[in-house]
Symmetry: C2
Subunit: 194 residues, 2 copies
DNA sequence: TTTTACCCTTAAACTAGTTTAAGAAATTAA
DNA sequence: TTAATTTCTTAAACTAGTTTAAGGGTAAAA
């Protein structure tokens, strides 16, 4: 059953019946991606919610000078989408790309709306998921406005050890809002026990 | 009807019937607050979702050195709550305080859960509200990691002109993650057309 | 109406983070 | 297995933002 990892994810929130599972199964697609493959680039309309079965993806924006900035990472059992673009069905500003070879499950807009109508508890589940993600982002904003780069790195390292050890430092630096050079310095200082 | 501003807010998402409105009316409380009054301080459990009828409130955190950092503002027709604390019914780290004399509508945890069960579309509405707020926060994170303080100030000024003109600069500086002194410099440079 | 508290500004010295450049180490492709 | 590319590191010169301190303006409280 291709939907299995997704159902297991949903069932960490609420239980599902067979009929519901079959309906979900019929409305998703699952596929494999190579390293550095894109599922969305600037100007595309984001037409899917993407659930990560295996691997890591990043969502990044590009500033007026052309530099990339990582807005979020999504690894196993996490979601990724350009919500603004998805919601309004209009061209988005983001890019979504694999960092490792990955496997994903996607739900298209129409299918998701169909599922919301037929399985109302999905409204509840996505409400809770979005609240959880909102809280994470709020913590990140607090870090950004209140901490030094070193503190932000330590926080990231403690909170997402599986990501911190898995991602190239350039990607982490981009996420933290600093240069890779400065991250290198920070890491040296942390090792020296500063 | 004390719930009127709240119902009008909900009806920007979906229509409501009389019975539903009465149920909501019976499950909320409305009150007035003085300037600088707190509805939550660090260590409290956040037991309400608060809707702002009139005025402005801020939610702020305190860093290890004791400094305050504004995480968000909420003015008319906006929501404010320490979601982490509310969700898990555990002591929160935030403080929520009025900046101006304000009027609010509050929904207590139990009442909100009761409303979710009896009016399922509220799950849908709060899902959408949370998604909207998530997107706003994501844009703010992008600003924080990709822009200078001057660009962040300009963005804030354009996106929230009603707040920018209404709030003391010290509060705006705290929200932007810079010192009031540096904000003062930035404003001078902007006026000089830099 | 006077005082107090708050809010904003300016400027000089300082610190955190960036940029540029060059080379070493690790991965990936051929 | 080697070549090519990406990633990481170090260091010096630079720029963005903070700190400290002092003073002026304005709103609120007594």
């Amino acid at each position: 059953m291709k939907a299995k990892p997704l159902i297991e994810h949903f069932e960490t929130y609420l239980p599902f019946e067979e009929a519901e599972i079959s309906l979900i199964e019929s409305r998703i697609s699952r596929r494999k991606l190579k390293r550095r493959e894109y599922i969305m680039t600037t100007g595309d309309i984001c037409r899917h919610y993407t659930f990560v079965v295996k691997g890591v993806l990043r969502l990044y924006g590009i500033d007026p000078t052309g530099k990339e900035h990582n807005i979020l990472f999504a690894a196993e059992n996490d979601w990724i989408a350009d919500i603004t673009s998805f919601h309004d069905t209009k061209p988005g500003k983001s890019n979504i790309q694999t960092i490792e070879p990955s496997e994903i499950i996607q739900i298209a807009q129409q299918d998701l709306y169909h599922l919301y109508i037929n399985i109302p508890k999905l409204d509840r589940i996505f409400k809770v998921i979005t609240e959880e993600k909102y809280v994470e982002l709020q913590n990140r904003v607090f870090q950004n406005i209140s901490s030094t780069a070193q503190q932000r790195y330590s926080y990231f390292y403690e909170k997402y050890p599986h990501l911190a050890s898995r991602l190239p430092n350039t990607q982490i630096a981009s996420y933290l809002g600093i240069t890779p050079e400065f991250l290198s310095m920070i890491r040296k200082e942390i090792i020296l026990g500063k």
